[in-house]
Chain length 739, copies 2
């Protein structure tokens, strides 16, 4: 009995001990997480709020003030000084690393001893009128040196003489009309066109193709004057003595004209100037409207249609040359600018990603300005600066994004997006494997009305979600979100109830990232009311009157609009860098492709007989879009059941999201434009500023109008449709479950 | 006291219970693995052994027997039947999926009612001699229909008449010598060249450039006859009535000539035949040496240097035309072949990767044959078949590779690598993001001596490691590894004690994967003794005598050599697909780049004065290679401390390894060859078969010799050096720690 009792007791104890151990084991087993803690989206959301709230209007004001005191043209001492200051401050703000990255690129400057100007000359060749050599300097800046006078960068030297021909905006269709309807030939003449509607480099190219020996561009009040607004400094309109600087290249994405495709380093082979990409072959010069009146007022020849007439009090005759009274007078351009290889500096800052350091989210904007850069680009650069400061604050609180953040202050954007393009060329192999998104940060404001966003379709949803978390900067809209404020002012025009988001064109530093490399990209800024404000860009654009004061007095006295833009740009890179699952919406891309296919097919169907004759069909494109749409929908459905805790499964899906934009790249490039490789989005060949969808098809259809060989032109269209269909099919394949 | 005692006891019990629970908890905590079980390399090693051991000579024999009974030219019924059979058997073997992937590409066939031949005609135009219309059919195959007679695929139709000019091998240097030293002009004449040394398409291009109106290629015994070997069927030499078929395109990687850059699908736009890529513009025809004697024996003109003389018992005169006795005779080619768009079929089989289904390791080889394909390609296809069978066996035992395995049976390789190139074009976007490696599986045997491996440098170490685990197939070498057997027979020539591995050239299906897309690639086969066996390829190459019997009787009676090749090819894809860390050795790439830089600089320094005059330097290239070497060494050092249990860290490093090969791709392509984009490896423009290192520099230097504008030619060299230096620098960047 005793033994038995003891045995029973022993067994009892053993069972209890075993049970306790087992219980402990079970608790231990389940208490231990399967994975090391990964920052989850809730923590990330809290940090996002802190990140946005940390951005301050007065800080942005201070950044803008600091970087607009002196002219800082690309390649000058002052622009290097600002670069050094930015580098220093970004380090102080707490970035992991900041470096200066130089390139030696072709820039263009006026000759300091031989000014550029345009003369009216008499029959003896004597100058009877000369255009001004500089803009009147704005108050407060009288002692500033190194203000570069208005010029067309990369104009060749030359002193062509000839009769003037007025060609409206200098668009392809304007030259068509000139030659075909008005029967005026520009060959051997100097053309004068007004600024606006299209990129000035396209105007120059058109003038060259028309055989002109020179081209003058002027700012017409019809295009650079807001109704009821005074000229600077009493308002934000362009004074008559102001003129628009700008480069007149046709680079089509090549970057430095002498090193297309490769970074302009010390050892890099350089083309000769004759072989350089996109350099104009005829002299070019810009003038303001005071000077323009003097050149235009005595012109002879036919009176143009009304849509060729600007707002000057003259009759806008076509020419060639002057009226009978002034018949002996001609025009002479005096251009002495120099092209020279010059060192430029990008500033690149980084925050290393905690979990995926090999995934990059980039916020980049340029620093170089034509003069002070009050709006372009420093309103944007100030916003980037504030974003870096706020990110640095988070870092100091222990935050670190999942992916790597890269901040860039680009140089020489004004000379053809050179700083950003050279860096993209330098890092192309890394970027194409690793870049998640590129957010551009040029001018943050061009009007006082509402938000403007241009981005790739897969970013639409993120933009909407984010702007709902940002406050409207408008007076009297306390408690209203930026989304609501924007939605109210600029609803999508067609069948959709949401704020309008537009396609990306070109003309700023996202170009190489988006159109060449296929990295998802977007830009955001504050803008004017397009319906009522019809002028191009903003009146003082690229003039000496782009000062700190034009922002502080008129565009954004409270600096809340700039803060809102900072929150949008900053919020975008935060979410892209820190979300577990990339916030890219593939269904939005499918929707957009459907609309684009409809609209390009409509353009084709303007020629129903020819489409029939040459057996042109858009069916293959529609079928590809349908295929993509199904793949996108299935992809998002599968996301519902994704195990986000499995790092490999998550990475695989994120890679599909990241590489979707890349799938739209055709390595062969668009016809004749090897560096424009995005099959869905690129500027048309006729206007760098405007983003076209299916640009290959668009350009081929554009050429139909004036084609001598219809058969060949329609073959081009068919080939482009086939390439677009293939590309969309191939992109759809990237969304199917990998195996 | 009692209370106290109870309390003490309670405390005692509580402590014991807590301790037990804690102990259990601790055991539970540490017993639980941090990650779900991942297949580790030890398990993988066991499976590798099983995978290799499962491959059987008698199975390979059976596969080869099965697929060589009937002619199966690309685009024919029989080749589709074999495709269907392969698909069926791969499914039975246990692949996850097998699909048939068709394309519609341009092929070329003789006209069935109007045979191709060459005549000697008299002054009346009557045919006094005609070449044979077909090869004598080998014994046992007398009843076989659909044996295509020897022809040059893609020759245009035509019946040119003219005098013969003999131009040795038809190489660039042969034509130089003809025109410069022998002062004979090929313009307006028909050239006759011997097969060998370079790709036949290059001979045709050279003849076109020289202005010839037609070109005949013959197999000279000096190049297609092994000493002391009888002609087939008594030995493996080429009978005098045998001739080498083959395409004469200059595609430079374009694939289907009518759809360069895009897959040849139903909706794909097709170029016109005139605009097609690489199509020869003059008639071309191949003959055997019996016929060649008749064309050559009466030729007049100078006697050539000895290295122009083959092994026929004639004097190999240059021409033009015949000796005085036959002066009135001329040559007429009668070519009636048709180009036609034809459906071809790839078979694609897959084993889905267990952990990284979005990483692809590809084993691909072609199925189409000129006739029976006893060696080319079915010795390779049989090896792939056996590899699939063995992989299927592993699958049935529960194995699944870490990454996805893709098996491909390509079509229309003989017509310009079309099946593989179209599939690469179709899947380019997936492949460039996801493909780890491509192993080629064309002919598995071309000699009886030892192993031959051509591969990218980063695969060298894996090839050595693997061949140490495979047995020598040679008689009397029981217990000797393939590595030792190979090492003994073909040691690296220069400073290294290891078996020789060569560069990849082109001429088989790896081309689009390696040279266009930049996917690490390799090939392996059994080969002849290069030192003693001087004939080109193997004697019966592309003739009707490439039968099952030529392998069974002469090349590999035991089928152990083919088994060894299967184990090499299979072992490579196994290791690439299943190793945790990718078995790619970046240091080997650094070593190779160092050697290549040395050797290309030596080539430049053959012109020391000109290099001085035009200021040409290889310094930037050497400095880039140095940079790469340091980056490679550091990369491998960091691998020592890599936490392979962290799936993200492992993936990041594997991505660096995978994308290294991609970093050598220049999206702009080599000069004039947009589909050859690998800056380190590509064939020279003068011979598709030979892989050159730094091909851009090589070609530019090649052009120096005969250049009229030295300045321009040296500028080309400088530009190519700069591009190479940039590419190597950029590749080095991909190896640094990402951030």
């Amino acid at each position: 009995m005793r033994k038995e009792g003891r045995l029973t007791r022993w067994i009892g104890w053993t069972v209890i001990v075993a049970a306790l151990l087992l219980l402990g084991f079970i608790i231990g087993w389940f208490a231990k997480p399967t994975r090391p803690n990964t920052p989850n989206d809730t923590a990330s959301g809290k940090y996002l709020r802190e990140f946005l709230d940390e951005m301050r209007p007065e800080q942005i004001r201070e950044h803008l003030r600091k970087f607009t005191r002196l002219p800082h043209l690309a390649g000058t001492e002052q622009n290097l000084k600002y670069a050094e200051q930015i580098m220093k401050e970004w380090k102080e703000y707490g970035l992991d690393s900041v470096e200066m990255v130089p390139y030696d690129v072709l820039l263009s400057y006026p000759n300091k001893t031989q000014p550029n100007y345009i003369s009216i000359i008499d029959q003896l060749g004597s100058e009877v009128f000369n255009t001004s050599l500089a803009e009147p300097v704005p108050e407060g800046y009288e002692d500033v040196s190194n203000i570069v006078p208005p010029y067309s960068a990369f104009s060749p030297k030359g002193q062509p003489e000839g009769d003037l021909v007025y060609v409206n905006y200098g668009r392809t269709e304007d030259f068509f009309q000139l030659e075909r309807d008005m029967r005026v030939n520009a060959t051997g003449r100097i053309v004068i066109v007004r600024y606006g509607k299209i990129f000035r480099g396209n105007k120059v190219k058109n003038a060259m193709l028309a055989g002109a020996k020179g081209i003058i561009m002027f700012s017409d009040p019809a295009d650079y004057w807001a109704a009821g607004v005074l000229p600077y400094p009493d308002g934000w309109n362009l004074p008559g003595g102001g003129a628009q600087r700008g480069n007149v290249l046709n680079l089509n994405g090549a970057g430095d004209p002498l090193t297309p495709g490769y970074p302009a380093k010390e050892y890099t082979y350089r083309l000769s100037l004759e072989d350089g990409v996109g350099l104009p072959k005829i002299p070019v010069h810009p003038i303001g409207f005071h000077d323009a009146i003097n050149l235009l007022k005595n012109m002879g020849g036919p009176i143009p249609p009304n849509n060729w007439k600007g707002a000057l009090n003259i009759s806008y005759r076509i020419g060639p040359g002057f009226t009978d009274d002034f018949k002996s007078q001609k025009l002479r351009m005096n251009i002495h600018s120099n092209n020279q290889i010059t060192r430029i500096y990008n500033v690149i800052g980084r925050i290393r990603g905690a979990l995926e350091p090999d995934r990059y989210v980039i916020l980049g904007g340029h620093r170089d300005a034509w003069v002070f850069g009050g709006i372009d680009p420093m309103s944007g650069a100030a916003v980037v600066h504030e974003t870096v400061r706020s990110a640095g604050r988070l870092i100091s609180k222990g935050w670190r994004p999942r992916r790597t953040l890269i901040f860039a202050s680009w140089d020489a954007e004004e000379f053809g997006l050179q700083g950003s393009t050279e860096w993209a060329e330098d890092n192309a192999k890394l970027l194409q494997e690793r870049a998640v998104a590129y957010i551009n940060a040029d001018s943050a404001i061009e009007g006082m009305y509402t938000l403007r966003v241009d981005c790739t379709p897969s970013l639409h949803t993120l933009v909407y979600d984010l702007t709902k978390q940002i406050a409207s900067p408008e007076e009297g809209e306390e408690g209203v979100s930026l989304y609501e404020s924007w939605h109210k002012r600029d609803n999508w025009t067609d069948n959709r109830d949401a704020p309008r988001i537009s396609k990306l064109g070109s003309g700023s530093d996202f170009e190489a990232y988006f159109i060449r490399l296929g990295i998802a990209a977007g830009r955001a800024r504050y803008t004017k009311n397009k319906k009522t404000e019809r002028y191009s860009s903003y009146p003082v654009y690229h003039s000496v009157y782009e000062t700190f004061e034009v922002v502080e007095k008129f565009y954004d006295p409270s600096f809340k609009r700039l803060r809102a833009v900072a929150q949008v740009r900053g919020g975008l890179i935060f979410q892209l860098a820190d979300s577990q699952l990339l916030p890219l919406d593939v269904n939005q891309y499918a929707d957009a492709l459907g609309k684009y296919a409809q609209s390009i097919a409509q353009l084709g169907h303007r020629h129903p007989e020819e489409m029939n004759t040459y057996r042109v069909s858009f069916d293959s494109l529609f079928s590809a879009v349908e295929n993509f749409t199904v793949a996108a929908r299935d992809f998002h459905e599968r996301l519902q059941t994704l195990n986000k805790e499995d790092p490999l499964q998550l990475r695989i899906v994120n890679d599909q999201l990241m590489y979707l934009e890349r799938a739209f790249i055709d390595p062969l490039g668009l016809p004749g434009r090897p560096f424009y490789r995005h099959v869905i989005f690129a500027p048309s060949s006729h206007n760098k500023y405007a983003g076209e969808s299916f640009p290959g098809i668009y350009d081929a259809l554009f050429d139909i109008q004036n084609s001598a060989d219809k058969q060949k032109s329609w073959e081009d269209v068919k080939r482009q449709i086939s390439i677009a269909a293939f590309t969309v099919h191939a992109a759809a394949m990237t969304l199917t479950p990998p195996s």
